[in-house]
């Protein structure tokens, strides 16, 4: 058992390092990885790596990691294998903010070009407050069904707001659709800086509740009788997960599949114990999105595909294979 977990961590970290290495090295211009710390030999290549590819790879990794760990936590909290980071509707809030920014051509003073992620994050935050307040109003104990239904209500309402703006828009349609499908291209270091604090805080909050998540798998009553402060933990997990989701969507759009499938794959390979599931999902989510981004920008180079298309394209077969193998071996 111990050996298996050791292998899980080693292989997940190894995969992440390989993904970063590939993500940085491969592209329209082939540059060796060593250029990263070798400015003299090829200055333009050095600049490509540090100002374009490196932030892109790191951003993809952070977004993938955020979505995967938030997905793992929401699935555990809601005890529902269909839950993902978008279930609660926080992402729809962030999307409404971002789409509105494009639709109205908003540009806030001082932050200028970073208006879009900023508004997205603000909207995600407001949505989170609204969703939690509403769920609490309906049912003080915030049962799993209440949360899921609240998420459905908010998602569909905010979704129709987005549809309305799409219907009314003219020339920005392509830009809006491109953003909705998700992308980590042309973002640069400021986006990475913007998401990092949320990723750190959100991840720490979720990790601190890893054992509480394990207990809550057996229902709120059993968890409470085990000594878990169920209400407090629920708020913490919802806030942590929402923070990660909101930040990820605000910087990269709604990239699907990662938050749903990475936790499942991790669970199938190494078990449902949240003490390990959260961190392993974090690493593997990062790896998956880095690789998907690499494929999206190289497969029909010099054009790029939306990353959301690739996540499902690569993720679904891999997921099917693991699913099949696992069911087979257990008879």
């Amino acid at each position: 058992m111990k050996g298996k977990l050791f292998f899980a961590y080693i292989s997940s970290i190894g995969l992440l390092l390989i993904s970063i290495w590939l993500g940085v090295s491969i592209g329209t211009a082939e540059v060796p990885f060593s250029t990263l710390w070798d400015k003299e030999t090829n200055e333009s290549a050095y600049n490509i790596l540090w100002s374009i590819r490196m932030p892109r790879v790191i951003l993809a990794g952070l977004v993938g990691a955020s979505l995967a760990i938030a997905g793992a936590a929401f699935q555990g909290l809601l005890k529902n294998p269909l839950a993902d980071p978008y279930t609660l509707g926080i992402s729809s809030g962030a999307s409404v903010g971002a789409v509105a920014t494009i639709f109205f051509g908003l540009s806030l003073p001082i932050i200028g070009t970073y208006t879009l992620p900023f508004v997205g994050m603000i909207c995600a935050f407001l949505t989170m407050i609204l969703v939690l307040t509403f769920a609490r109003l309906v049912d003080r104990t915030m049962k799993m069904e209440t949360l899921i239904l609240t998420g459905v209500i908010f998602s569909s309402f905010l979704g129709s707001c987005i549809s309305l703006m799409i219907a009314l828009t003219g020339e920005q349609l392509r830009e809006i659709m491109g953003w909705l499908l998700g992308s980590v291209s042309m973002r640069g270091w400021p986006y990475v800086q913007m998401i990092i604090p949320f990723v750190m805080i959100g991840t720490i909050i979720l990790w601190l509740n890893r054992r509480e998540l394990n207990a809550m798998m057996y229902g709120d009553e059993r968890a409470q009788s085990l000594g878990v402060n169920v209400k407090k933990s629920k708020y913490a997990i919802l806030a942590g997960g929402s923070m990660l989701t909101g930040a990820a969507v605000a910087v990269s759009g709604t990239i699907g599949f990662v938050g749903l499938v990475v936790p499942h794959m991790t669970r199938m390979l190494w078990g449902a114990d949240h003490r390990h599931l959260l961190i392993l999902s974090f690493f593997n989510g990062a790896s998956l999105l880095i690789i998907c981004d690499l494929v999206s920008r190289t497969i029909i180079s010099p054009s790029e595909l939306p990353i959301g298309v690739i996540t499902a394209f690569i993720g679904a077969p891999v997921f099917s294979f693991i699913f099949y193998k696992q069911r087979k071996s257990r008879g």
Binding site: M1, Q75, G76, K79, N80, P81, R211, N214, A215, M217, Y218, G219, E221, R222, Q224, S225, L226, G227, V228, N229, R267, G271, A272, D273, R330
Partner: protein, 488 residues
């Protein structure tokens, strides 16, 4: 250990519990019973602190539960609601290990030796250690329930609250789980409060029963004081009957179904009796309630077929049960539906008599062999002898008798038999006094259980009068037949 004082409460504005008070001592098991919707589970939620009562207090170890922190309370009390395998399954070991949650603290919450010991012990106690590496979802319902109980035991608290711990399990698993919990109660002073659906299981395993009705306590005490026929019928609104358990001094109930049977007349007539070469036979096309001291299917029960079989003087009595069973099967009698007796008397000497009574006809069948007659007041210093000589008496009644009427009927019949021996001057050859019977006499009373209930069967009751007269006359004739046979 646990004290509930004047607790009332419910969901929102609907009150469910009304002024409930009770106490459970350390090392006792309390069963909470009551019909669906009476507030059993709500009470359990209030005790466990999941729901706050509107008034009243719950004390654990003398301290109000609201003064405990979540983890402190979890160390004192374990609550096991009805659980099912979750959407994401863990291994058995991980599931049981979670029981140690309240004992761990700190940022990394290290796993200590005592945690490991508690988990291993709990898995051993519940017998789940052999599949500790298996995924929970691949276990059977009974095995899963044992894993959840192991998780509860690993929590190492002294008070365990259970909500129908054996729901949906087969009887083997029910027994296994309750035996195991009971063992913890008896050997390690665990205190258990458990909601039960099954009255019989609660009666068998609990020291005390709390019977609830409409959110109130209807009765509280030891099982035989709480589980009384009339009270259960009133609370559950169902006809039942309480019986004694064969091994434990605990009442057990049986449901009395309100069946509408086909209006077929259930009547015994002389045609039901036949005297054959090897046995006297009585066959009915419906079962009769029977109390007897027969060789096969003695005691109280429901049977349709009856035989009184003639065997040789040198019949080997050592294997009688097996031999008799074989005989029944060979002769085409269903062993589970037949009462069998044995005699050395020729069937041709059997007496069948019919009597009319106000409630219906009564048949008395007697075979008498008095070669070994004895005076029961003079046998205390004698050795046993195997000589077969028996007075077998059957009384078949078209009527409905209570249990006491059956027992009184047996007494009345015995007295009449003894009187017949006295009248015929049958002597105990050793003491030279009037005999009272033989060492192996058998008696059977069978009743159709149709018509008015006859509560008593003593000598002056309608049924007692017929039994007395019938058994006396039939035994007299049977003795005379036997003596005629001896003279020839």
């Amino acid at each position: 250990m646990l004290k509930v004082q004047n607790v009332s409460g419910g969901y929102g504005s609907t009150p469910i519990l009304a002024d409930i008070s009770f106490e459970v001592e350390k090392g006792k098991m309390l069963g909470i019973l009551g019909p669906n919707g009476c507030g059993k589970s709500t009470l359990l939620k209030v005790i466990s602190g999941i729901m706050k009562p509107s008034t009243g207090t719950v004390y654990v170890d003398g301290k109000e539960i609201k003064n405990y922190s979540s983890k402190q309370l979890a160390k004192k009390m374990t609550v096991l609601p009805q659980l099912h395998a979750t959407a994401f399954s863990n291994t058995v070991r991980d599931t049981v290990s979670l029981g140690r949650y309240p004992h761990q603290s700190g940022f990394f919450s290290s796993w200590k030796t005592e945690d490991e010991q508690a988990v291993v012990k709990a898995m051993d106690q519940t017998g789940v250690r052999k599949f500790e590496k298996a995924q929970l979802e691949y276990l059977s319902g009974g095995e899963q329930q044992r894993v959840f109980i192991a998780q509860a035991l690993a929590q190492s608290s002294n008070l365990l609250l259970l909500d129908e711990p054996t729901n949906h399990l087969d009887i083997a698993h029910q027994k296994q789980i309750l035996d195991m919990i009971r063992k913890e109660v008896t050997e390690h002073d665990l205190t258990v409060v458990s909601v039960f659906h099954d009255i019989n299981l609660a009666s068998l395993y609990c020291d005390e029963i709390l019977l609830m009705e409409d959110g109130k306590v209807r009765a509280n005490g030891v099982p035989h004081e709480v589980l009384i026929d009339d009270r259960i019928m009133d609370v559950y609104n169902a006809r039942i009957s309480m019986q004694a358990h064969p091994e434990q001094p605990k009442p057990q109930m049986t449901i009395l179904p309100d069946l509408i049977e086909l209006a077929k007349e259930k009547l015994i007539t002389a045609k039901n009796f036949k005297i054959k070469d090897e046995y006297v036979e009585f066959k009915s096309d419906f079962p009769l309630r029977v109390l007897s001291s027969a060789v096969h299917n003695a005691g109280l029960g429901w049977y349709s077929n009856f035989i009184n079989r003639t065997v040789n003087q040198d019949y080997n009595i050592d294997q009688v049960k097996e031999e008799f069973l074989g005989y029944l099967i060979e002769k085409g009698f269903a062993p589970t539906n037949t009462v069998g007796m044995m005699t050395a008397v020729d069937t041709r000497n059997a007496i069948i008599k019919q009597y009319e009574a106000t409630f219906g006809d009564v048949f008395v069948i007697v075979t008498a062999g008095i070669g070994n007659a004895m005076d029961v007041s003079r046998t205390f210093d004698r050795e046993h002898n195997d000589y077969i000589g028996t007075i077998n008496t059957w009384i078949v009644i078209n009527g409905k008798l209570s249990d006491e009427a059956f027992v009184q009927g047996m007494m009345t019949a015995t007295e009449a038999k003894t009187k017949a021996l006295h009248h015929e001057k049958v002597y105990d050859k050793i003491s030279n006094t009037v005999a009272t019977g033989t060492p192996t006499d058998s008696l059977l009373i069978a009743a159709t259980q149709q018509g008015e209930l006859m509560q008593y069967g003593g000598p002056i009751t309608e049924v007692g009068k017929v039994i007395g007269k019938g058994v006396f006359e039939a035994t007299l004739e049977a003795i005379q037949n036997y003596r005629k046979g001896e003279l020839q």
